[in-house]
Symmetry: C2
Subunit: 393 residues, 2 copies
C-alpha cells in the first residue's frame, strides 16, 4: 500500500484559522467591541425570489410520479446548458451546448480537470493567488513556476516568453486582488499559450462583477482562445450560490492536444467520476439566467458594487495605493507606513474593530497588502470605512 | 503539454448505447410492440413527502436574509452527519460525526478517493462488476487483478492468499448480481486486507435493500474493519436520490497507513477540490433519516422488494439458476440453453418485448448471465414475468 506522498508536501493553511483565533482572543478581552467582518469572500444577500420559486417547484416535481426525475445527464440538463450558451451570446461569444459542462462548482472542476493532464507538466501560477490552484498541483506533484503580480504591473502580470509552461492559471477579475485584465492583456496570454502549446485555465468566477462590456467577461472574447483555453465559471458570486452549489466549465470542441479532444476527455472523466448536479439546483440555476432572474440578480450585484465604491472611496481618502473595487467585490490595498499584512490586520482589529484578510495569506507577493470584501451590509461597511478613515487622517 | 495518456487505455462502453440502439431498431419494425424496460438501475418512485417538504422549506430559507446560508462545511453540515451517525447505530456500529463525509454521491467519492493512493498500487476487482471501479483505475494506470465471481461461488468470491493486492473493491449487495455477503464472508476479506496491508473500498449503496439484520448493512459490523476499510454509501437507491444527489463516505479515524490518517488526507482532498453539497439537498437527506422519512422510504423499498419477489418467482418458475432479488433490487439469472447474454437479450426483446441488461456488459464472467431490475411499476413487472414464463414452459 503506497499513499500519494505528494500530500505530505502540502502546507497547512493557517490563514482563516489564525484570523478566527485572533478575533476570538480580542473578543475575550474586549467583550463589548462592535467587530465588523469584511474578510471572507462569501455572499450575504439571500437567493432571488425567481430562483427560490424555481427550486421550490422542482422539489415539488420530484415528489410526484409524473414529474419525478432519476439520473440526469452527467453533463447537466440541456435546459441549463442552453441558458448558459445564451448568456455567452450576450458577450458575442458562440458556445455550443455540448461545450458546456454543469458541475457543483468551479472549485470542483478546477481541481478535477487536472486528472486529464500528466503530472510531468509545468504550471504557471500568479502570486498572490487563490490557494487551491497551488494545492491541487502539489497533490499531483507538478512543477510550479510563480509569476509575480505586484504593484508595478498593477497585479496583472503579462507573459514572459523566456519561461516555458504547459498550464497557465488566470483568474480575472482576480481573487484576491480584484484586478481585471483588458482584452489586450488576455490576448498576450492567448498568444503565449498558443506559442507554448499550453492550455490556459481561465477562472471567471467573478465575471458578473465586471461593469459594462469594455473588459472581457469571457476569455473566448479573445481570438484564438478556443484553441488554448478552458473557462471555469460559477453561480456562487453572480447569483449567491455559495451554499446552493452550481458552476459550469466550458471546453470548446476546437481545444485539442496531440489530436485528442479535451472536451471528450472531460466528458469521459465526468461520466465516470460524477453523476451530475441535483435537478432542483439546476432548475434554480436556469432561473438565474432568465430575464426576471437576471434582473433580480443584478440588483444584488449593484448593491455589492455600491459597497465596493464606499470601500474604494474610503481607501482613496485614507491615501493608500489600491486596486479592485470597480469590476470586483474585492479591494486590495497597500498597507501604509510599510506595515506588514499581519501588522495591518492587528492594527485594524484593535483600533477600528474591523476584520479584513492579510494579503500574505495568498502568496509572498501579497505581503504588505490587505484585502477587504464588499459582501457585507451597507451600514456596516459605511461604519467600518468611517472608522478606518478616522484612523488614517 | 502532456495529457494523461492512461485515458487512451479506456474501452468505450457500448453496453447501454447498444441496448438503446437495438430497442429503437425493434420499435421501428414493430411500432405497436408494448415494450417493458427492466434494464436500467434507476429508481422510479418519487421522493417521499417528508423529503420534499424539507427541501421546499430549505429553498425558502435560502430566500430570506435571516436564514440564508453561504458556504457550508466541505464535509457536510453537522445536522446531516449526526443523522447518518445515528443511522449507523441501528446496526450497532459506532461512527463519529467527523468520520463521515457528505458528498454528491458515492460515484464521485469512489472515483475521487483514488487521489489519495499512489498509481503503483495493485487493485483487486471482482468480475462482473460496476464498470466505474475498473475505469477509474485505468485512468490512473493502476494494475488491476480480477477475481472471478461465478456460479460456483454464487458470485461471492472469497480472498485467495496467494494474490497480493493493495486496494480491494467489494460491493454488497452487489451491482450487478444482487449477491450479498454474510458476516463470515466479509470477515475473510477483512482478515485478508489486514494481512496484506490493503484497504477495502466497500460500496454499500444497496444496503437498504437488505431484509432484516442477519446480513451486515455495514462492513464496520465486522471486527477489525475500521483499520482496513472505507465505506461508500448513497441515498440514491435508499431514498430515490438518483437525481437529487447525495451520498456519504465513512473513513474511521483508526484507518492509517504509514502512520498517515486516511481521514485527514480525504478531508484535505475534499476541502481543496470540493465545496460541499447544496444546503437544500442536505436538508432533504436529513429528512430521509428522520423517523417519518424512514417510514415513508421503507414503503418504497417494500414496493421494490415485492417487485423483486415477483421477478424471482417468475425466474424460479421458468427454471433458471439465479441469485439476488432477496436483499437487492437486482435479479441475476443464468441464460437457459447455453444462450449468450446478447442472444438472451434479443430473444426477450423479440419474443416477450422485455428489455433487460446482458450480464457480459459487466465483465467476462457475466457472459451467459442476465440482469433484471425491480425498479419498475408492479403492473409492468407482473406482465413482463407472465410473458417470460409463457416463453419458457
Amino acid at each position: 500500500m503506497k499513499l500519494n506522498n505528494n500530500y505530505q508536501n502540502l502546507k497547512k493553511d493557517y490563514l482563516f484559522s489564525t484570523i478566527n483565533k485572533k478575533v476570538e482572543e480580542y473578543k475575550k478581552t474586549n467583550p463589548n467591541a462592535d467587530i465588523i467582518k469584511l474578510g471572507i469572500g462569501d455572499v450575504t444577500k439571500p437567493l432571488c425570489p425567481e430562483i427560490v420559486e424555481a427550486m421550490t417547484k422542482a422539489a415539488q416535481e420530484m415528489g410526484k410520479s409524473s414529474t419525478f426525475r432519476g439520473y440526469g445527464p452527467e453533463q447537466g440538463y440541456l435546459f441549463l446548458r442552453e441558458s448558459i450558451a445564451k448568456y455567452y451570446s450576450d458577450f458575442e461569444v458562440s458556445i455550443k451546448e455540448d461545450e458546456i459542462f454543469v458541475s457543483d462548482g468551479a472549485k470542483s472542476d478546477l481541481g478535477n480537470i487536472l486528472d486529464l493532464f500528466s503530472g510531468d507538466n509545468t504550471v504557471l501560477i500568479p502570486d498572490p493567488v487563490y490557494p487551491a490552484y497551488v494545492d491541487t498541483n502539489i497533490m499531483d506533484g507538478r512543477k510550479i513556476i510563480y509569476i509575480g503580480a505586484n504593484e508595478s504591473n498593477k497585479f496583472l502580470p503579462l507573459p514572459d516568453d523566456r519561461i516555458k509552461s504547459d498550464i497557465i492559471y488566470i483568474c480575472s477579475p482576480n481573487n484576491p486582488t480584484g484586478a481585471a485584465y483588458d482584452k489586450e492583456g488576455l490576448k498576450k496570454w492567448v498568444n503565449y499559450a498558443i506559442n507554448n502549446d499550453a492550455i490556459i485555465f481561465y477562472d471567471s468566477a467573478y465575471e458578473a462583477f465586471i461593469d459594462g462590456y469594455n473588459l472581457p467577461h469571457s476569455i473566448y472574447q479573445i481570438e484564438g482562445a478556443k484553441e488554448c483555453a478552458i473557462e471555469f465559471c460559477s453561480l456562487s458570486k453572480r447569483a449567491g450560490f455559495t451554499g446552493t452549489r452550481c458552476g459550469y466549465t466550458v471546453i470548446p470542441k476546437k481545444l485539442k492536444r496531440n489530436n485528442v479532444s479535451i472536451n471528450e476527455l472531460w466528458f469521459r472523466r465526468q461520466s465516470t467520476k460524477f453523476n451530475g448536479v441535483s435537478y432542483i439546483v439546476q432548475r434554480g440555476a436556469q432561473a438565474a439566467f432568465s430575464i426576471e432572474g437576471s434582473k433580480q440578480i443584478n440588483e444584488n450585484i449593484f448593491y455589492y458594487r455600491e459597497n465596493a465604491k464606499i470601500i474604494s472611496d474610503g481607501i482613496k481618502f485614507a491615501g493608500f495605493w489600491f486596486i479592485g473595487g470597480k469590476h470586483s467585490p474585492y479591494i486590495w490595498f497597500k498597507c501604509p507606513n510599510k506595515m506588514s499584512s499581519w501588522e495591518m490586520f492587528d492594527y485594524l482589529l484593535e483600533k477600528a474593530n474591523v476584520v479584513g484578510t492579510p494579503g500574505c495569506g495568498f502568496g509572498k507577493n501579497g505581503e504588505g497588502f490587505f484585502r477587504i470584501t464588499s459582501f457585507g451590509s451597507k451600514d456596516k461597511i459605511f461604519e467600518a470605512m468611517a472608522r478606518i478613515k478616522k484612523l488614517f487622517i
